[in-house]
């Protein structure tokens, strides 16, 4: 019964074979995915489509929604706050190399046996276990104009900077805090990846006289490319969907629009401004843009999962 549905190897998987009883087993296979699929469809996909419907109405959460065609979308295109939030999102995405590079370099150093490496490995992951409410509340106090970070800078002879109150530094401060609180995760993934790189290969390269940096660049990094891709995908999703808590506590979107991301704007329009219809339209635009990104990511993820 089972032999028809269990693929012998990845090649035969492409053309499912059917024997007697195959139907039955296939049905059983559906039973296995059904709980997951049902949950995802009912609680995420259907609400998404529902939201798409709202985006064509003037829904205010109270009166009957009225169909307004593309009015909301036209409104968005002329909304300077939304446009600013897009720019901020692009800036955020442009920092991806740091989000990957920093933990990668640290992982390499720990792998190379930097003194105290074991302790670092354990401690670096620590911020990742704290909720953003906690991280935000703490950095709020640290990064203020009269906060401990500026006190430290002043003690070192530098002048104080209003990290969160200055348009040119607020977004980067926000990004830095989020990076600080999540880099431990990528670090662990990289350390694990590095441990799979065969030491013979490295020895051979060393004997060939390869310099340390060259060796890392030409041998080690290419050999853990799938892992880097995986980390990049996970990080990007995190950037686009889980910055809200930190924005709320750290900057509330300001000064001006300098730390408003689309995710935060959706919340603002929906809650404070009480315009779910308009907020839905922003959601859809954000989702569409993510879909482009998602296409690339799905390809990478499908490959990683051998599907």
């Amino acid at each position: 019964m089972t032999e028809t549905v269990i693929a012998k190897d990845s090649k035969s998987a492409a053309t499912p074979r059917r024997k007697s009883g195959g139907h039955n087993a296939e049905r059983l296979a559906y039973l296995f995915v059904l709980p997951a699929l049902a949950l995802v469809v009912v609680f995420r996909i259907i609400p998404l489509i529902w939201g798409l419907g709202y985006s064509f109405t003037d829904y205010d959460g109270m009166s009957q929604p009225r169909f307004v065609g593309f009015d909301n979308y036209i409104g968005i295109a002329h909304d300077p706050v939304f446009l600013d939030s897009l720019v901020n999102m692009l800036i955020l995405l442009a920092t991806l190399p740091i989000w990957i590079g920093l933990p990668l370099v640290l992982a390499i150093l720990i792998h190379q046996g930097v003194p105290g490496g074991k302790i670092f490995r354990a401690v670096y992951f620590f911020p990742a276990v704290l909720s953003s409410v906690i991280v935000g509340a703490i950095f709020n106090v640290l990064l203020r104009y009269d906060g401990s970070f500026n006190l430290f800078l002043k003690a070192m002879g530098f002048s104080a900077v209003d990290w969160l109150g200055n348009s040119s530094t607020a977004l980067f401060s926000l990004i830095a805090v989020q990076l600080w609180s999540t880099f431990g995760m990528s670090l662990l993934i990289f350390i694990a990846g590095l441990s799979t790189v065969s030491s013979e290969m490295l020895e051979a390269a060393k004997l060939d006289g390869a310099k340390l940096l060259q060796m890392w660049w030409h041998i080690v990094i290419p050999s853990i490319r799938p892992i880097i891709e995986f980390a990049a995908v996970v990080t990007t999703i995190g950037m686009l969907t889980s910055m809200f808590g930190l924005i709320y506590v750290l900057t509330a979107g300001g000064p001006g629009t300098s730390t408003i991301l689309p995710e935060f704007l959706i919340w603002l329009e929906q809650g404070k401004m009480n315009r779910p219809g308009y907020a839905s339209a922003i959601s859809m635009v954000l989702f569409l843009m993510m879909a482009g990104l998602a296409a690339i990511q799905i390809r990478i993820m499908s490959r990683n999962a051998d599907i």
Binding site: P16, F43, F125, V133, F230, A305
Partner: protein, 277 residues
């Protein structure tokens, strides 16, 4: 050769200094929170950063008793444990089917699940809430368990699928010779074999569920979870930082203790689970 090695070592030693500073920064928030929690409200306002000389534990007992945190704590434990177990079972089943079994629509189903990974919570807030009401899941702990499962499932399914896809196929072939049915294969082979990935997911999902505020706020309106209780302590006007800090310490303590105890497993688990072997 030896010369190169000593130079390498020296560079590493120098580099360990900034790394140690980074490590200190990772610890500092804990120090700050504990220090603040030991101050009185007035003491904190008057001196925020100084080390407290006259510690008080009143904030902890106030947070625990007056703010109903003990009750919320129980809710958090029940919901987190429940959601994580359901998540692991559902994700493991789906991962097994998607990675090993062959059936029509497999790819579409996989992509559907991946797409849902990219929907921010804010995007579906209102429809999600109405769905929960429609299914009569509001204000019940099972409702929140289901909601968490739905929200954290996509990544779990992805990871399980990726993990199972890399297992050697001989395992299933051996099983099918024995004539075991799918349920038995899953139970006796897939679950034990999937342990490293399941451990990883168990840890990550525990973090997500424990730290969540938004979903819990929507679903559980009478019975609260701990993080929501903490968020409410922030109040309209963050009046009482020491009380908040005490709440934060209490809320983070279980997670930190778990992390310290299972540090090795967590680090290895994430490693094994996330990396192509």
């Amino acid at each position: 050769m030896a010369e190169v090695q000593t130079r390498e070592k020296r560079i590493l030693r120098i580099l360990s200094i900034p790394m140690a500073l980074l490590a200190l920064s990772a610890i500092y928030p804990v120090f700050f929170a504990i220090n603040a929690a030991l101050k009185t409200r007035k003491g904190y306002v008057l001196d925020r950063f100084g080390i407290t000389t006259d510690p008080t534990f009143a904030n902890f007992s106030q947070a625990w008793n007056q703010s109903r945190l003990s009750e919320y704590f129980y809710n958090s434990v029940v919901v987190t444990v429940g959601a994580v177990l359901v998540l692991l079972v559902v994700a493991s089943m789906a991962g097994f089917a998607l990675a090993i079994l062959r059936f029509r629509g497999r790819k579409i189903i996989f992509i559907t699940i991946l797409v849902s990974l990219m929907i921010p919570v804010q995007v579906v807030l209102v429809p999600f809430y109405r769905t929960m009401i429609g299914l009569n899941l509001i204000d019940s702990r099972p409702g929140l368990i289901i909601a968490y499962t739905a929200f954290f499932l996509p990544f779990s399914v992805y990871l399980m699928t990726a993990f199972y896809a890399r297992l050697p196929r001989e395992l299933f072939e051996a099983a099918q010779i024995d004539g075991a049915n799918l349920l038995k294969v899953w139970w006796h082979i897939m679950l034990p074999m999937g342990k490293p990935a399941l451990v990883t997911l168990g840890i990550l999902n525990t973090l997500y569920c424990w730290n969540d505020v938004l979903i819990s706020l929507l679903v559980l309106q009478d019975q609260r979870t701990l993080m929501v209780g903490i968020a409410a302590l922030r109040g309209e006007y963050t009046t009482n930082v020491p009380l908040l800090a005490a709440g934060i310490c209490l809320a983070a303590a279980p997670i930190v203790i778990l992390y310290v105890i299972f540090q090795r497993q967590i680090v290895n688990g994430i490693a094994v689970g996330a990396v192509k072997g």
